[in-house]
């Protein structure tokens, strides 16, 4: 596996590229990655995301994304997009402007929502808006 990670937040087919990354590769990415399973349980949480939120991975991994980890995304703008994609078994790849409450401060971000039918994990990618 290549040691140099040059994944871009906007590039296409990003979901399957992230699936293939090792833990250290994930931690080297320039954007936050939250991966969760079909039950909404967080299975993947990279270092940048952990630093931005101020939460260490052990407080997050194994917990429910939309109720315990990121209740701020539990509305039609984010959570329902994933639900709709699951119900219709369709792929989701959309980028939205959002405001996260990182360490209780409003922070403008871009969220990229990724879901592929049949894939083990869905992803929310987080990049601070410049």
């Amino acid at each position: 596996m290549s040691a140099v990670i040059e994944l871009d937040f906007n590039q296409s087919g990003l979901g399957s590229r992230i699936d293939a990354l090792s833990k250290s590769d994930l931690d080297a990415l320039g954007f936050g990655v939250i991966g969760f399973d079909k039950d909404g349980i967080v299975r993947l949480y990279n270092e940048l995301e952990s630093k931005m939120a101020g939460l260490s991975p052990q407080r997050v991994l194994g917990f429910s994304l939309f109720t315990v980890v990121a209740p701020c995304m539990n509305n039609f703008m984010v959570a329902q997009c994933f639900e709709d994609a699951a119900i219709t078994s369709s792929a989701l790849d959309t980028t939205i402007d959002y405001v996260l409450t990182l360490r209780m401060r409003p922070v403008k971000v871009k969220l990229r929502l990724l879901a592929t039918p049949g894939a083990a994990l869905r992803y929310v990618l987080v990049r601070r808006a410049s």
């Binding site: 939120a53 101020g54 939460l55 260490s56 407080r59 315990v68 980890v69 990121a70 209740p71 701020c72 995304m73 539990n74 509305n75 039609f76 703008m77 329902q80 402007d97 959002y98 405001v99 996260l100 409450t101 360490r103 209780m104 401060r105 409003p106 403008k108």
Partner: protein, 433 residues
């Protein structure tokens, strides 16, 4: 003094942070102008869908459309500190495409000192809806209960069969208590006003809502009709899952003397002004409910659409008052041909719909053809004219391959179109193209 020598500040900070992340209410701290300094995730969850510009920098701006006077309320608050508003209810703009979107937020705003405000936000949609339902039920109950002199109380088992009853039973219904044990409570209804499926539906609805209420024609032991109200309430523990252990209480009242006032109220909302049968809206409400029931415990369900043939020619030749008379005649004939449990409605100019619960498509066809022949054989007398007209009908049945009410309506409409195309004065089944 070092009171907490082992305190790990970083760990404590993280735990506090998570405490705020997880708080199930929205917490926001702002400057006196509403500029957001701190906010927790639930605040963002509730406020982001309201934000027009995708920002969340000012609380007053975020709520500008829903609570436009908030800024003024805050600015005009005289004290240096104190409660600016306590659990203020903010009605959000209804968006029917979002299934679980909040409808009402509650906002409390506290002035901490001249420079800082603290807000608490929560989604109170469920609570507000529950309160509304309670108010409606209260009004309904008081309308029903006022002046009621007699009632019968009947105990039912899980299948809706009678296990016990009060002495009021013989006074209200004429039935001797001993003679009804083991019989389903449908014996209190006219034969065409309920079905074995509906008997169970009412029990399920009582399970779900805490009670099930309906009023309409009821029948006494000697066959005479009275206008009655029936309320079913579950007696069992709602947590009990075992079906056989469920028991219910049925209260029957004779409200014949109240029929006019309670019917008038209902008619204004749900009846077609010209014909007196159900209107389009009432039809769709009743049909959605019936589809829901059929989905929960599958049973046959048929829909017939009728259309008066060449109705425009009737209007042109005899005038609109005569046309109206024909429509009233058709509505009356429909209402007397179908059962009381069927939903008969005028859904368009000369278009009528009948929904037949627990009825297979062949049985629906038999009644539809009977009606079609009856209309063909009759004459309507208006202002010295004898008007004959005919009827076309299309029938479709609910099934797993039918996608909801719209799809069922579409199929019946295609069948109706086929009946028209095949020469009118006939009824057709829906067939796959």
């Amino acid at each position: 003094m070092n009171a907490l020598p082992h305190l790990d500040v970083a760990t404590e900070y993280e735990a506090l942070l998570q405490f705020l992340y997880l708080a199930p209410v929205g917490l926001v701290q702002t400057s006196r102008d509403g500029e957001i300094v701190f906010l927790n995730p639930v605040s963002s969850q509730l406020l982001m869908p309201l934000s027009r510009d995708g920002h969340l920098s000012n609380l007053f701006t975020a709520l500008e459309n829903e609570a436009p006077d908030l800024r003024h309320l805050s600015n005009s608050f005289a004290g240096a500190s104190g409660m600016i508003c306590d659990a203020l209810r903010i009605r959000l703009h209804a968006d029917t495409t979002r299934t679980a979107a909040p409808e009402t937020l509650s906002l409390s705003l506290v002035k901490l000192d001249p420079d800082r405000l603290m807000a608490v936000l929560s989604d109170v949609s469920l609570q507000v809806n529950r309160e509304r339902l309670l108010r409606q039920n209260e009004a309904w109950l008081s309308a029903i209960l006022t002046g009621i002199t007699d009632y019968a109380i009947v105990s039912l088992d899980h299948a809706g069969c009678i296990t016990d009853c009060s002495s009021g039973l013989s006074r209200v219904t004429g039935f001797n208590p001993e003679s009804v044990y083991g019989l389903p409570y449908s014996i209190f209804y006219p034969e065409d006003a309920t079905t074995p499926d509906r008997v169970l539906d009412r029990l399920r609805e009582a399970d779900d809502n805490g009670w099930s209420l309906d009023d309409g024609w009821r029948i006494k032991q000697n066959g005479t009709r009275y206008w009655g109200s029936a309320m079913i309430a579950p007696l069992h523990d709602r947590q009990i899952d075992a079906d056989e252990e469920r028991t219910y209480c049925l209260i029957i009242r004779d409200i014949t003397d109240k029929r006019e006032s309670s019917e008038n109220q209902r008619k204004q909302q749900s009846c077609d002004y010209l014909t007196g049968i159900a209107n389009r809206r009432a039809f769709f409400d009743a049909a959605e409910l019936e589809l829901e029931r059929a989905k929960r415990s599958p049973r046959p369900l048929s829909l017939i659409l009728f259309d008066a043939d060449h109705f425009k020619a009737v209007n042109d030749r005899f005038g609109h008052p005569a046309g109206d008379e024909v429509l009233r005649h058709l509505a009356d004939t429909l209402a007397s041909t179908f059962r009381q449990i069927d939903v008969v409605a005028r859904i368009g100019g000369e278009e009528f719909a009948v929904l037949l619960p627990s009825t297979a498509i062949e049985d629906a066809m038999a009644v539809a053809v009977r009606l079609q022949k009856l209309i063909e054989a009759q004459m309507v007398h208006v202002e010295g004219h004898d008007i004959r007209y005919t009827l076309s009908g299309g029938i479709a049945a609910m099934g797993p391959e039918v996608n909801g009410l719209a799809d069922l309506m579409k199929r019946a409409d295609q069948a109706l179109y086929a009946a028209k195309a095949n020469g009118r004065n006939r009824v057709e089944y829906w067939k796959a193209a």
